[in-house]
Amino acid sequence: MNSETITMAHGSGGLASQNLLRELILPNFSNPALDELNDGAILNVKSKIAVSTDSFIIRPIFFPGGNIGKLSICGTVNDLAVSGAIPKYLTASVILEEGFPIDDLKTIVASMSKVAREVGIQIVTGDTKVVERGSADGIFINTTGIGEVIDGVNLSPRNVQAGMKILVSGFLGDHSAAILSSRHGLETNLESDCAPLSKLTQEMLATEKNIAAMRDITRGGLAEVLNEIATESNVGILIDEEKIPIRDEVRGVCEILGFDPLNLANEGKLIAFVPSESAEKILDTMRKNPFGKNACEIGEVVTNSRGRVGMKTSIGSIRVVDFPPGELVPRIC
């Protein structure tokens, strides 16, 4: 590739587009379905399939612990994983802003390729478009994933019942806190937790097929996902503040900016609602996986206060945990 930045020609289907495809995309993502270069990829599946799609926009594009490329694979893989599926195939569409550095694109594509290989997912089709300078924020990526649903697994909020235990796979809030710190010049050692969780979920489901429901804890954080489950399952949820794993540094960032750590996004954490009697067994399994080594129980499903989430606080009180307020806005004073 001759030019050092993306030009409108890279998206117009001519020679530049072909070069981008042959020199950058194909060598990184090569697999039988993609290498056919048909208009549509032809895929084999053995079971019911799970499908999920997500678009990724993030500033900064490169952040401590990852970049938009890694994020775009992990995000969709994790949606499939918590649906009880083994991720198999992925599509990737990239929208680039004219002037985007090609070296940055190379780094992003390499990250996508690396994490896809780790997960065992194949990127089978994709698309690249270029928009004029000022019409996008560098790079946007959409991925759609297809996974094979594990036989006998049925994950749904409808299965969640009183008495079940609630497990999380590790420290919460690292992703948001790392992004906010790097965006606003706070010096921390925090890194995004961006990671693929499909091996972890497969191991958990091999240990206990009757896990009731799983979710990845992304935008809106723990508060969002707990409220979703409480509403969809019409159960009450009671968590214990002292059991929720949050790093001191994340608490520090929250104190400075006035955020509630329960509202911070993650990109490599999941929550599981499990039968009480298998909670310990599942935790043992989780802790053997590098992405679940700090897994712990944080609370349980209760019979009263249906549709609501409560939290025992560090001083022994109980308060409501509501849906997060949306956009995270720092306080003034």
Binding site: G236, G258, I315, S317, R319, V320, D322, G326, R331, I332
Partner: protein, 351 residues
């Protein structure tokens, strides 16, 4: 002492005082901490916590926002503001709904960068806040002065907490028995700025056990009828405050009257830019006229800010007034009393 021990001591004091006690937490950050820790639910029935006028966004008057919105309509102007101001309703709309160029920033110093990057535009920083943030705004003016950055201006509504407390307590209807004084403000002003108070008052930290300690401190004074002013946040607050911050503040600003939502015009309760730096005062350089604002007659934020009603007494609360589309600033701000009541489930609930 542990949180549990403070609570025990609080219960002991409360049982000695047979009447109802109203303690006001002045600062919005305290309000949020109190709700997050669930402190209200643990207090004895005769101890009530009332939120005060300590959310800078909430006490900013409609006409300030109307001016900001009017300025934002000028295509040659960029508005730089703390994000919390964006959703606050003026008399007609919010800044967020404005079509102008509005940038959310985290520090007033960010406005310098925006001004440097946009030399053909005028950048206006919305300088709201209390003694806590005013020194940073002052430092920004000094820096703009040093850099001869003539396209950076300030729309200023900085406020001072002690004069507002004086007015608030002078109203016999307020019935406040003790004050939790704002920790961040006191870092700058020092405890001495509050020593004129005639009721038990104490500077408090923001962690749950620090707040319980301060409540315990107040109740023990109330039980003994001692109107003392104290400091339970010794790790960061000193009697004289931060002299360096005060010096920067004094060099740029002078004390002036200020209009508070809910409390009205309070003499000597605000700051205005000194004549020497007047060229940074946007109202002097680009004067604008806005129609006199008529506040929404159904919104009771003013009474909430005075502690004379609780949010649920307002018939808009939780119905047409919610955090995502707030009628009043106390619901719009992340540190507003109504927003805290809405998000954290009011004072009591069963689980």
């Amino acid at each position: 002492m542990s949180a549990e021990e403070f609570l025990k001591s609080i219960r002991d004091s409360a049982s000695k005082i047979s009447r109802k006690i109203r303690l006001m937490e002045v600062c919005g950050t305290h309000t949020v901490s109190i709700f997050r820790a669930g402190i209200r639910q643990l207090l004895p029935k005769n101890i009530e916590l009332v939120s005060g006028p300590g959310c800078p966004v909430c006490v900013t008057s409609d006409d300030f926002l109307d001016k900001a919105i009017e300025y934002s309509k000028n295509p040659n102007i960029i508005i730089a503001t703390f994000g919390d101001m964006l959703r606050v309703p003026g008399s007609k709309s919010t800044l967020r709904e404005s079509t102008g160029d509005i940038r959310a920033i985290y520090s007033p110093l960010d406005s310098i960068r925006i001004a440097q990057e946009n030399p053909s535009k005028t950048v206006i920083f919305l300088a709201v806040g209390f003694e806590t943030t005013a020194p940073t705004a002052a430092a920004t003016i000094l820096e703009a002065n040093r850099l001869k950055l003539e396209n950076l201006k300030f729309l200023s509504a900085q406020k001072l907490v002690p004069p507002a407390l004086k007015i608030l307590l002078s109203d016999p209807a307020a019935q406040i028995d003790g004050l939790l004084l704002p920790g961040h403000v006191a870092v700058v002003t020092g405890v001495k700025a509050f020593e004129f108070l005639q009721i038990p008052s104490v500077v408090a930290g923001f962690k749950p056990d620090e707040i319980l300690r301060a409540i315990d401190w107040l109740l023990s004074r109330i039980a003994e009828n001692r109107s003392e002013v104290g400091n339970c946040y010794e790790s960061v607050v000193h009697r004289d405050g931060n002299p360096q911050a005060q010096k920067i503040l004094d060099s740029v600003y002078e004390v002036a009257d200020s209009n508070w939502r809910g409390l009205g015009l309070i003499p000597k309760s605000g700051l205005k830019i000194r004549q020497e730096f007047e060229r940074f005062d946007v109202e002097k350089i680009i004067p604008i006229q806005i129609p006199e604002s008529r506040p929404n007659p159904n919104c009771r934020c003013g009474e909430v800010l005075r502690g004379s009603i609780i949010p649920t007494d307002c018939k808009l609360f939780g119905k047409i007034c919610k955090p995502e589309h707030a009628t009043g600033p106390c619901m719009a701000s992340v540190e507003g009393t109504c927003s805290a009541w809405f998000r954290y489930g009011g004072s009591h609930f069963e689980f």
